[in-house]
Symmetry: C3
Subunit: 155 residues, 3 copies
């Protein structure tokens, strides 16, 4: 069994789907802030975000695992949103969005990273699921420098 | 609040999941047309499409936001489908598929774009959810040149 | 109708969502093996896996469609998991994970492929849905050299 050597702690809980929010975001709107706005409006304490569309420009980040800090970078050209995946959970008592995107340029080359405020929508169609079950609240994790979900071992 | 400056109109509705269609598509089949066929067969008026697999070759597009037209390009090599995400909604009275894919080549380099007919499946496993709720019907949007969902402001 | 020319066999069934497993995986853990472990622990016979996060390094593969074999490659640098999509189904009587990932480096360049054991998590947040309905059991497919789901034509 390879698992015994390679699998450390896994923290999982079981949830049910409450509702699914579907719709789109107007041209010129900030992508990250829109999702945050939806999460606040619908009071989504735990959710999953998926979407596709295009941006007029994007601001992404790469996490430097050694320095434990995000390095931002700008993609100042229109690009397709070829994948957007994220989640919503609680941080400092409010719904917080963590999303990654893959974008592609006019030659089809793909870029990706952690989505930041500063990415402007050209068109974007979103599907956001809300889940019911144990709360997941983000807290600071010393080992990674990130705000992660709790380490209450379930599995 | 950053939102007040950066968030314009967001159009969202609440849905429930009706059923989930899971299966696979035979080698040599057109990827885009297959999804359309499934959407028609199951009469999916609103849905989400996800999948993975590989293609023998692909035809994708990049939307030129200034010229307001799609520019097609061909990737004439076998590639992995490393992400496929799309939706199904109504256009001209029939289920219409809007999907984006990320593909990767033998060196692992990723390409992406808007999926067009002309992409031939090597193997593809799909999960398609059908949603119940207010209809989303695509109509021409002058600001983008795209066929988008209605701008009935909910949020 | 383009379909009659381009669509061959499509094998689809209808499912309902049983439950959704959400959580995260500790730093230093093998990504592929973690998902397998979750699938075994929860006895997920059919599921969908999505996630985001970062890896310390990755081992991916590209399937050579002509030679009918996977070619592995290593990405020995910290990268963002900008998309992870996969499924769980039965193979040799046990839950088996098939997943593809898109990763991005410090410059935002995206790489992708078939996820293998050997990818080490820095942080990873997972959402895994379990479906109820007809079993999907993988078996060897001569035409592709892959283990695919059955070809019982539904659609």
């Amino acid at each position: 069994m390879r698992e015994t050597q390679t699998v450390k702690n896994i923290y999982m809980n079981s949830y049910s789907t409450k509702r699914t929010i579907i719709g789109h975001v107007e041209r010129g709107t900030d992508l990250y802030d829109s999702i945050t706005r939806i999460a606040h409006q619908y009071n989504i304490k735990l959710g999953r975000v998926t979407g596709l569309g295009a941006v007029q420009r994007a601001k992404l980040a790469y996490y430097d695992q050694k320095e434990m800090k995000y390095n931002d970078f700008d993609l100042n050209e229109p690009m397709e949103i070829v994948s957007m995946y994220g989640n919503i959970s609680l941080k400092n008592g409010k719904p917080f969005v963590h999303a990654h995107v893959v974008l592609s340029d006019k030659k089809g080359n793909a870029r990706g990273g952690h989505l930041l405020p500063g990415s402007s929508v050209f068109a974007c169609e979103l599907t956001i699921e809300e889940f019911e079950g144990p709360e997941l609240i983000r807290g600071f994790d010393e080992r990674t420098g990130l705000t992660l979900w709790p380490k209450e071992k379930i599995l």
